[in-house]
């Protein structure tokens, strides 16, 4: 017995300490004194970067993560400041956010809505993240946005292109800088008309899930308004890897344009297959057969190799832009990592800066104050020209780039060239546009 620590005296001592501990705990409950979820109390503030690290979008996720790290460095006063120098709002001082050092946690969305939510929840519950950002697909963005709304933190969407993110699934706590399917259609259609004429017959292959449908709807609407005819729209399974059986009938359908509403691996494979079938060398209805990929991503275009040459699409941003902001960003990213940033990296970097700026202008980390600071915020110097964060649906309105696969690339990054910068006014729509109807923001939720 003498060996045991659990003597009567010891026991009393231990229980006394435990009792004291219980008597004076800091207790946070869902309805406690804290003003909002994860109110930062110490000298630092934690942001949650939730990007795909495994699965088909892992490379895109890795690029997003690089951009986030760069943004954190710049916010904390390191590096050359990047776009902080060109940003029209000068609230950010390079001293973290409101004097609090920016720290971050990372997680893996696996490009699955379930896993993404689990990862975001762990950031909020375990790491006390005050803001969640990232993602490389619309399903994930909508799912995590819903979670952030419930938990009472801000969600700054990464790469998400579906109309639904700021349409029927919009949330008061969620913000999107990236453009959307409607904007792609509105920007592309006039360019396509001037290139290919208004007497064209289009054949759509569409990834059979929500994003694919909204994009098909948008492109069909905008091309038909210019006089194009839609011959057929065919849904392809998400899991499809070989698109030959969908592409083979295209040539015989009388169509002379093929629109591929695919993204990621689907896009790489369907485009490769289409070029393999020699569609681009054919003449139909007396015209050259053309292929259009409405949403382009340079990272993904690399996977399709030479097949992208001469193919048109739209993109949110491209590193070859020559405005000061883009140049500054490409410079600081390129010097740190040795290659130019992707559009996913750009949107993620910008979102982080916009959040930090909004907090500083609002003077508070409270999600409702931040949301108010972001709503209707007009800014410039972030690589997209004059931009508006619209209050009604938390969507950014800015210029959209129409790009084309370059015929003679000078390097492995130099795959796309900007054909036209479509002004923001041309891609702006009413908040109650039928393609975006059905949802509402609701009230901002500060949690706690």
């Amino acid at each position: 017995m003498s060996k045991s620590n659990l003597t009567r005296r010891g026991l009393i001592k231990t229980s006394a300490i435990a009792g004291a501990g219980v008597a004076l705990p800091t207790i946070f409950t869902a309805s406690s004194a804290a003003a909002f979820t994860n109110e930062p109390t110490g000298g630092s503030v934690t942001l949650g970067f939730n990007v795909p690290q495994t699965g088909p979008y892992a490379d895109e996720g890795a690029d997003e993560l690089r951009a986030y790290e760069l943004a954190v460095e710049h916010l904390n006063g390191g590096g050359d400041g990047g776009m902080m120098n060109t940003f029209s709002s000068k609230a950010l001082q390079g001293n973290g956010i409101m004097g609090k050092k920016v720290e971050y946690v990372t997680g893996d969305t696996q490009t699955k809505s379930d896993a993404a939510r689990a990862s975001a929840k762990s950031m909020i519950e375990k790491d006390s993240a005050i803001m969640i950002t990232g993602g490389s697909s619309s399903g994930v963005a909508v799912a995590v946005q819903g979670l952030c709304q419930e938990a009472g933190v801000i969600f700054m969407a990464g790469l998400t292109h579906s109309n639904d993110t700021t349409g029927k699934d919009k949330k008061a706590n969620g913000f999107r800088h990236f453009f959307n399917a409607y904007m792609s259609g509105a920007a592309l259609a006039p360019v396509l008309q001037s290139l290919y004429g208004s007497d064209r017959k289009a054949y759509h292959l569409t990834a059979d899930y929500t994003w694919g449908w909204t994009q098909e709807e948008s492109i069909v609407a905008s091309t038909e308004s210019l006089g194009w005819e839609t011959v057929n729209t065919v849904k392809t399974p998400l899991a499809a890897t070989d698109f030959s059986s969908y592409i083979a009938p295209v040539l015989n359908s009388g169509a002379d344009v093929l629109v591929l509403n695919h993204y990621g691996g689907n896009m790489v494979n369907s485009l490769t297959n289409a070029v393999q079938f020699g569609l681009r060398d054919k003449q139909v209805n007396g015209k050259n057969f053309e292929i259009v990929v409405p949403l382009y991503s340079r990272l993904m275009a690399r996977g399709a190799g030479e097949n992208v040459k001469g193919i048109h699409g739209s993109t949110n941003w491209h590193w070859s832009l020559q405005d000061d902001a883009s140049k500054a960003f490409v410079k600081s990213f390129g010097e740190k990592y040795g290659f130019p940033p992707s559009q996913a990296a750009h949107t993620c970097y910008v979102q982080t800066l916009l959040y930090a700026d909004a907090v500083t202008r609002a003077g508070s980390f409270n999600p409702c104050a931040v949301a108010e600071a972001l709503e209707g915020f007009e800014f410039d110097g972030m690589g997209n020209g004059k931009t508006l964060y619209r209050a009604e649906d938390h969507q950014c309105f800015k210029d959209v780039l129409v790009v084309r696969g370059k015929e003679n690339p000078t390097s492995e990054f130099d795959l796309l060239e900007v054909v036209e910068v479509t002004p923001a006014a041309q891609v702006t729509y009413e908040p109650d546009h039928p393609m975006f109807a059905g949802g509402e923001l609701g009230a901002c939720n500060p949690g706690a």
């Binding site: 699965g55 088909p56 979008y57 892992a58 490379d59 890795a62 059979d208 057929n232 065919v234 849904k235 392809t236 399974p237 899991a239 890897t241 070989d242 030959s244 059986s245 969908y246 083979a248 009938p249 040539l251 015989n252 691996g265 790489v268 494979n269 490769t272 297959n273 393999q276 079938f277 020699g278 060398d281 054919k282 139909v284 990272l299 993904m300 690399r302 996977g303 399709a304 190799g305 030479e306 097949n307 590193w319 070859s320 490409v330 410079k331 390129g334 010097e335 290659f339 130019p340 000078t410 390097s411 990054f413 130099d414």
Partner: protein
């Protein structure tokens, strides 16, 4: 009519990939009795053999060209490949262009070596273990293999083109008396089909007409008796494992130009190839090949618009639906033997 011919072509082409993978899987199962979940990974590694060879051929040195600038505005580095430097631009360029067919030669020793190492190092210890353990350990191996590939090559697909002569497509329609453009088909896919036919024929001939093959077939039927006859069947089974790995690898090499290889392409094919093997009947080589082509053709037909408009979503489930129907009407698949894997 032309649409139907086109889809049959498509189906045969898809089917040849399925059949090749299922053939290797069945070889391993039939000889060693092992359910190999890492087989898809072998297919993937084959495709990456093509990628690796084309990277090796594209190894280059850099010279600074003062007239060009890179994306940061610094003087650009211009790459010249060693192959072109040594053999002249014409010859070197031709070799680089033919990287994928050359990768066949490159991949055979690599794949056989991987097969040997896998069998001797890991699978050997699992012959007497339950199938569930085999599945788990090979599944773990598949994850490890694909993560290694991902670590070195990234997650994005890597474009690997066919030789210049095989790009473009062939107009069957004209040959059969249809309008031009009615039935066109890419050259490389025709090459793939022919290649698959040769490999399948080769494997069957090898098993049917060589002494080695005879012993292996005898071993598949009754392992113990063959061993009692004083034949070292284990050694031959190891070799068969190597051959099966090589078949999967070759299927992958030739597949690289069809779809850009990525690290998870093996997993994409894994479930499908198991369905093919089971529909064909576990352990039956002709069954695997037949089922591969059958499912390929049916899948192609299901993706036709005319059929999709009657049964929406049918192309998403056709493979599984066919598998269910066949398994319910023919208990052991198309050509399976009684008592295999039924416990």
């Amino acid at each position: 009519m032309d649409a139907i011919i086109l889809q049959i072509l498509n189906g045969l082409d898809k089917g040849s990939a399925y059949a090749l993978i299922a053939l290797g899987l069945t070889l391993i199962f039939g000889t060693l009795g092992v359910v190999n979940f890492a087989h898809g990974a072998l297919f993937m590694i084959g495709a990456f053999c093509a990628v690796t060879l084309s990277r090796i051929l594209n190894l280059s040195y850099e010279t600074i060209d003062p007239n060009k600038t890179d994306f940061l505005g610094n003087p650009a580095k211009v790459k010249t490949t060693y192959v072109e430097d040594w053999l002249g631009p014409e010859m070197g360029g031709a070799i680089i262009d033919w990287a994928v067919p050359l990768a066949i030669l490159f991949s055979i020793p690599v794949m056989i070596a991987i097969g040997f190492i896998m069998e001797r190092g890991l699978i050997k210890h699992f012959y007497k273990r339950p199938h569930a353990d085999q599945i788990l350990v090979t599944f773990g191996l598949a994850i490890v293999l694909q993560e290694i590939i991902k670590y070195f090559y990234g997650a994005n697909p890597i474009p690997t083109g066919a030789p210049e002569v095989f790009r473009g497509s062939f107009d069957f329609g004209v040959m059969l008396g249809f309008d031009p453009n009615a039935i066109i088909y890419p050259y490389w896919r025709l090459v793939y089909f022919a290649f698959a036919a040769v490999i399948i024929g080769g494997v069957f001939a090898f098993l049917q007409f060589t002494t080695f093959g005879m012993v292996v077939r005898a071993g598949m039927a009754d392992r113990e008796t063959v061993q009692l006859l004083g034949i070292n069947i284990d050694k031959r089974f190891t070799i068969m494992f190597g051959i099966a790995a090589a078949v999967a690898g070759l299927a992958g090499v030739m597949y690289a130009p069809i779809n850009s290889p990525n690290y998870h392409m093996g997993m994409d094919f894994l479930v499908l190839s198991f369905v093919v093997v089971v529909v064909g009947g576990m352990g039956s080589l002709p069954g695997a090949v037949l089922a591969g082509f059958l499912l390929g053709v049916l899948e192609s037909f299901a993706s036709m618009n005319e059929i999709k408009s009657i049964l929406p979503g049918i192309d998403q489930i056709i493979i599984y639906l066919v598998a269910i129907i066949i398994l319910l009407t023919r208990p052991r698949g198309l050509m399976g033997r009684k008592g295999v894997m039924e416990e």
